[in-house]
Amino acid sequence: MLEFISQQPLLAALIVLVGLGLVFGAVLGFASVKFATEGDPITDQINALLPQTQCGQCGHPGCRPYAEAITNGEAINRCPPGGESTIAELANLLDVEILPLDAEEGAGEKPKSVAYIREDECIGCTKCIQACPMDAILGAAKHMHTVIVDECTGCDLCVEPCPVDCIDMIALPTTLQTWAWELPSDKSHIIATDVSHGEAA
């Protein structure tokens, strides 16, 4: 053995290195099979940040497809229900620049709302029930339908299919439970000597 090494140092080194490579390759190969991650962890993380309204305003049929699209390089600013805070969180997760919300005209951030069916006008066509991604509309054919407010995400998807236009999106009112202090709005940061000049520096 020693003799072989001393006589053929080059060959010996080559054999040892190749051997090591094979061993470690086998270990790594085994590990990659044994400890493989199921699914796509990044997609899951992105999906967890999305608001899960399944509204399709991003152009994808639901939040998970959009998460997958983001994983494949789509812009992070297509989600109006999530708004700025979701964009900031996504930017933070993916370490990319924060972008302004990219939405169609008038489809920007809206106050949280829920669908409301004017029950007198409902003809019981079940079209909204089929459209609702949350199964949040209750009713049967030719019977009045109604929205389960707690489950409604305000995605708007039921409004369009309604043949008698009896669905309204109603903004959730502020109650004593949801009322909150607002951030101070006066952001002028004027310095005291500017007060007399009447203008901020």
Partner: protein
């Protein structure tokens, strides 16, 4: 002397307490209208148990506790319930909430009540029941239901009971006056608390700026085993966690309750209320409220019935509306501004501050943070206010949580010392709310996700079931075919059947594809529908007769036309007429004479049959390809008949007049079309 400990931070704002301690506590009397918010405590709002129009007595329960963390509400004087509904609440939002309004009758008549002077015979649950039913919630500020706080888990033995007489916020003197005038009641209440909690030590903590109250309390507490401890005045020593540190030197760990380290803190006022509830059986219906500030002439403390509107207290203390720049409920550090003087005094209202412009000026404009660090020095919770401010501006909720925003007690020390006049506490309050909303959104989005996924799964399952069914059907059909092929004897019949079915399908399809293009068919159907009741399967002889007569007439006309036009089909026409005449003879023979009159009498049936006959005739004609001229003449004739019918109908006021009119107009339209066609044909 007991050693006291120091707390980090804190400030020494002007105390302004002497103004309201010059005179004794005065009863505020009974206002005309009292308003009782259903939520005067932390937890679920109480449930009303009275109705509008009910007469209530003083001390009567008007709303019951709704759940474990909730307390009932009692009427503070006798009178009549005049409204149950929205009223402006003592809340920083200035929003309305459910309240019970009672119009006082002035009699102030008590409901029957009985105390338990020998409360030591009662066990803890019984006493807690009394305290809960008396509607007692923490009177220091937060309003946490006392019965809940006095019921620590069995694995949390209470070592120290602390009675909070600190009253560290400027201006407020309600507890100070209570100690000066009702030391006995306080100590009796503390004894009840001691009996409930069985602590190893009981301490009343009082700041050293209340010398008179301290002396009275010390004197009254002699021989009771209750220790009176004074400590240097500093805001906010009266915060629950701060006071625990001062008295015991221990800190309540993050996210834990004082009971977790064996301490329970109760306010002086709460102790008094507990005494009145247990020993005298009186529920919590009144409290001491300080009315102070330079915009009132008489700054003093009132024994106020809960539910009294603030305007009542302001009138009693002669407030000067012209100089008052705002109304503050609570003290200048942690209170909030009120927009309405009809807001009632509630269980937590310790002070109404009515400052003038010089006393509490509008805050100066906010300037940039210069990172001086004074806020960090002043913070009693050892937080980093400037960092929190920074993250609040950037809405970095995660960073805020990492910097322990949740431990902020919103005492206002940082805002007080800030040389740039930054309203730091408002930033923290907004950020706390943002974190809460964000957490709720996360819960909701998880819920939505689960629901959406469940729906997707369901839809998939349904689609699969449908597909499976379809395949099963296809298989069955295949099998049936295969079995039919193996039995040659039945082949013909099957093929026959198949052919029939195919034909039927084809017919239906044809019908479906052009339902409106065959007006004849439609007319037949309409007519048959009209003839409901009349036998459909076999035409009656009368009907047949009428039909043949109609056809004969038409044939004769056609013949005439043909003669006029010199048609080459004259022979055919004459043959047709002869045939029809024969048929008519036969039909006439078949009809009994009596029925002839019936035919004419039953116009409805006849018209229907007529229509069928005409329609069928037209179809027959259509099949034979009428020349356009013939068609026009026919139409003209039909139009004439229809018009006649319409006239008759109008004379008789027939119910079907609309239908007649419609048919006339359709016929006119058809006629025009036909004429058009003719002209076109002639031109070409």
């Amino acid at each position: 002397m007991r050693a006291v400990f120091n707390i980090p931070g804190g400030i020494h704002p002007p105390e302004n307490k002497v103004q309201s301690t010059a005179t004794a506590i005065r009863s505020a009397g009974i206002p005309e209208l009292l308003v009782f918010p259903l939520s005067q405590h932390i937890g679920a709002p109480a449930k009303p148990i009275v109705e509008v129009g009910n007469k209530v007595l003083k001390g009567q329960m008007i709303a019951e506790a709704n759940g474990f963390v909730s307390v009932p509400v009692h009427a503070s004087t006798s009178g009549e319930v005049v409204a149950i509904g929205g009223h402006v609440l003592p809340h920083p939002s200035g929003m309305s909430g459910p309240c019970i309004s009672i119009k006082a009758d002035g009699k102030d008549q008590w409901i029957e009540h009985k105390g338990v002077p020998d409360y030591e015979a009662l066990d803890r649950p019984a006493l807690l029941d009394i305290i809960r039913n008396a509607g007692i919630a923490g009177m220091g500020g937060a309003g946490f239901p006392s019965a809940v706080k006095l019921n620590p888990r069995p694995d949390q033995p209470i070592k120290t009971l602390i009675i909070n007489g600190t009253e560290c916020e400027p201006y407020i003197t309600a507890d100070d006056m209570l100690m000066r005038e009702r030391a006995e009641q306080i100590l009796e209440g503390v004894k009840v608390l001691r009996h409930i909690l069985t602590p190893t030590e009981t301490v009343i903590g009082i700041e050293d700026n209340k010398a008179e109250a301290l002396a009275i309390m010390r004197n009254a507490a002699k021989g009771t085993g209750i220790e009176i401890v004074d400590f240097p005045t500093k805001y906010p020593s009266g915060g629950e966690k701060q006071l625990i540190t001062i008295i015991t030197g221990k800190e309540v760990p993050k996210g834990k309750l004082p009971a977790d380290i064996g301490v329970v803190v109760q306010n002086l006022g709460t102790a008094t209320a507990i005494y009145r509830a247990v020993v005298h059986g009186e529920p919590l219906i009144s409290r001491i409220t300080t009315v102070t500030g330079k915009a009132v002439e008489q700054q003093q403390n009132f024994e106020t019935l809960l539910g009294s509107p603030i305007s009542h207290l302001l009138t009693l203390s002669k407030w000067r509306q012209d100089v008052a720049i705002r109304l503050v409920m609570g003290g200048p550090m942690m209170g909030f501004a009120l927009e309405d003087v009809s807001i009632p005094v509630v269980k937590t209202t310790n002070c109404i501050l009515v400052p003038n412009a010089e006393e509490l000026p509008e805050p100066a404009p906010e300037q940039a943070c210069i990172r001086c660090g004074m806020c960090a020095e002043a913070c009693p919770a050892s937080l980093l206010p400037q960092q929190l401010f920074w993250f609040s501006q950037g809405k970095e909720l995660e960073k805020l949580q990492q910097h322990n925003l949740a431990d902020c007690i919103e005492c206002g020390c940082c805002s007080y010392v800030c040389p740039s006049n930054i309203p730091l506490v408002q930033y923290y309050r907004a950020s706390k709310a943002a974190i809460r909303t964000h957490d709720q959104d996360l819960i909701k989005s998880d819920q939505s996700k689960a629901r959406f996924e469940a729906r997707q799964e369901r839809l998939e399952r349904e689609a699969e079931a449908k597909e499976a069914k379809r395949q099963a059907r296809a298989e069955a059909a295949k099998k049936a075919k295969a079995s039919a092929a193996t039995k040659p004897g039945e082949t013909t019949s099957t093929t026959d059947k198949d052919a029939i079915i195919q034909a039927a399908i084809a017919r239906t399809k044809a019908k479906k594809s052009e339902p409106s293009t065959d007006p004849v068919q439609a007319a037949i159907e309409r007519a048959q529908a009209k003839r409901s009741g009349a036998p459909t399967a076999e035409e009656t002889p009368e009907a047949k007769l009428v039909k043949i007569e109609g056809r004969l007439k038409k044939a004769q006309e056609k013949y005439q036309q043909a003669i006029e036009q010199g048609s080459d089909k004259l022979d055919a026409f004459s043959a047709g007429i002869t045939k029809l005449e024969q048929q008519l003879e036969l039909a006439k023979a078949a009809v009994p004479d009596t029925s002839e009159q019936q035919v004419e009498a039953s116009t409805n049936t006849d018209s229907a049959t007529d229509a069928i006959a005409r329609a069928q005739a037209q179809r027959a004609g259509g099949a034979a390809k009428d020349t356009p001229e013939q068609a026009i003449t026919k139409l003209k004739k039909r139009l004439g008949a229809a018009k006649d019918k319409l006239a008759t109908a109008e004379n008789e006021d027939n119910a079907n007049i609309e239908a007649f009119r419609a048919s006339v107009s359709t016929l006119q339209a058809k006629l025009q079309k036909a004429e058009q066609q003719l002209t076109n044909d002639n031109v070409s």
